[in-house]
């Protein structure tokens, strides 16, 4: 019986463990990572447009550096190098920061496109009305830019979801990690890995339905 390729008994036996151990971690990493990416990405996008040359150039350099290096290397770096400087987080927090930082650079690009899509006449009207600069951003530009970019940001959250297994390298067991652990405990991998696959499919497909709904709501499909 052990030679069988697929065992339903075993499938149902490990299902609760994979879900229980992994799902929450995957969701935490994705949700917290996205929040960091959305907020930090906006900060990057605004600093990038700073009239102070040094600020915009340094921001550009940081964004390009992060975007051009692999996420995996960044995860290692944060986890193994930061403690040397006395910065120490638990593995999940480190992973969330790495995901958030990495995707913030993509989010910055998305925000940039959204900001540039606001007609120049809006800036001119704000100038003609002597609206303070900060208020122009907060009340006029961003409320028009952000709704349009929500679908694009949502797509990056889906990508991030699918990259959470990388956190396994620093000992964070997400869905995929839990499946591996289960598999190596019993020397049977097919069922737990399949479970992981199904869970990712369900999560990212439902997230993509949400994104499509958002696209319809904001009226732009890219």
């Amino acid at each position: 019986m052990n030679d069988e390729f697929w065992q339903w008994d075993y499938f149902w036996e490990v299902f609760p463990t994979v879900v229980g151990d992994g799902l929450l971690i995957t969701l935490q990493a994705t949700v917290y990572g996205s929040i960091i990416a959305y907020v930090l990405g906006l900060v990057f996008a605004l600093l990038r447009r700073s009239p102070i040359r040094v600020v915009s150039t340094v921001t550009w350099a940081i964004i390009e550096f992060i975007r051009s290096t692999p996420l995996l290397v960044q995860i290692f770096f944060l986890f193994f190098v930061f403690p040397d400087f006395g910065i120490r987080f638990d593995a999940l927090t480190t992973g969330v920061i790495a995901l958030g930082l990495h995707y913030a650079t993509y989010a910055a690009e998305v925000y940039r496109a959204g900001i540039e899509a606001v007609p120049v006449g809006q800036w001119e009207a704000a100038t003609a009305l002597s609206l303070p600069r900060a208020r122009t951003w907060r009340a006029v530009i961003l409320p028009q830019a952000i709704p349009r970019v929500l679908p694009a940001l949502g797509n990056y959250t889906i990508s991030m979801l699918k990259e959470t297994p990388l956190l396994l390298v620093i000992g964070v067991t997400d869905i995929a990690g839990a499946a591996f652990q289960q598999g190596s405990a019993a020397f049977r991998y097919v069922e737990p890995i399949t479970i992981a696959g199904i869970l990712f499919l369900v999560l990212s497909y439902s997230a993509s339905l949400l994104v499509r709904w958002l696209e319809r709501r904001v009226g732009t499909v890219h």
Binding site: E124, A125, T127, A128, P143
Partner: protein, 254 residues
């Protein structure tokens, strides 16, 4: 009220305004006409600080908009100084440029609250008065996208007036409107011009309107004032053949 002295504006190698001099007295309604590309709109944009002069100075009231005196020298004004001076100036745009994310009421109250420091109650009271003036009291809670072009432009006029400007700049305000909506907007502007002491600087192709409301009309050509005269004179017996050609071309098209 407005004084241009030797104003030059270049975009790259292209000279748009070439040593321009003119003044506008307080309360005057001055219309700028001329072929497109002759620099009329640039004059409004310089006053609104949407563009900066290449050389020369612009005064608004007794303050210099373009420069500040530092010791003996005039240096280009910084953003803070310009913001201070341009609070006296309002502008109505060809494309209205209402804030689509705000309701009509907030379009009118946003700047008075944030830039002039009015209380919300004061700003809203002012907004309601102005909406009544432009005939849109019932649209106070509408979004700009729900309004017709003519209605949007009336709201934009009210929004500019909410800042209680000394000077109002009108940049081809009816060019983007459907023909049947033009007359209403022009009548509104005429009414405002006749009942306030606001100084108007108006760029338009509506020659009938220009003739009707202007105290003075300036004909522009290639960055110069070609002719500067009361409307009756300029439209009936212009001094220059160039003006005559331009007027007949515009009238034929209209």
């Amino acid at each position: 009220m407005i004084r241009f002295e030797d104003v030059v504006k270049r975009f790259g190698d292209h000279v748009v305004l070439d040593g321009l001099n003119f003044t506008v007295a307080p309360g005057e309604f001055v219309t700028l006409i001329g072929p497109s590309g002759s620099g009329k709109t640039t004059i409004l944009r310089l006053l609104m600080t949407l563009e900066q002069v290449s050389s020369g100075t612009i005064h608004v009231g007794d303050e210099c908009l373009s420069h500040v005196r530092r010791g003996e020298k005039l240096v280009p004004a910084d953003e803070k100084h310009q913001r201070q001076v341009r609070k006296r100036i309002g502008m109505v745009f060809q494309q209205f440029n209402l804030f689509p994310n705000m309701k009509v009421l907030q379009n009118l109250t946003e700047a008075p609250i944030r830039a002039l420091g009015l209380s919300r109650a004061e700003a809203e009271e002012r907004a309601h008065e102005l909406l009544e003036l432009v005939g849109l009291s019932d649209k106070v809670n509408a979004h700009p996208t729900q309004l017709s072009g003519g209605q949007q432009q009336r709201v934009a006029i009210a929004r500019a007036l909410a800042m209680r400007p000394d000077v109002l700049l009108l940049d081809e305000v009816t060019s983007a409107l459907d023909p049947e909506l033009v007359a209403g907007v022009l009548a509104l502007l005429k009414d405002i011009a006749n009942t306030t002491d606001i100084t108007f600087l108006c760029v338009t192709h509506e020659m009938g309107f220009a003739r009707d409301v202007s105290d003075r009309v300036m004909m522009f050509d290639n960055g110069h004032v070609l002719e500067d005269a009361p409307p009756d004179k300029l439209f009936s017996e212009p001094d220059h053949q160039r003006t005559r050609d331009f007027l007949s071309a515009v009238l034929e098209r209209g």
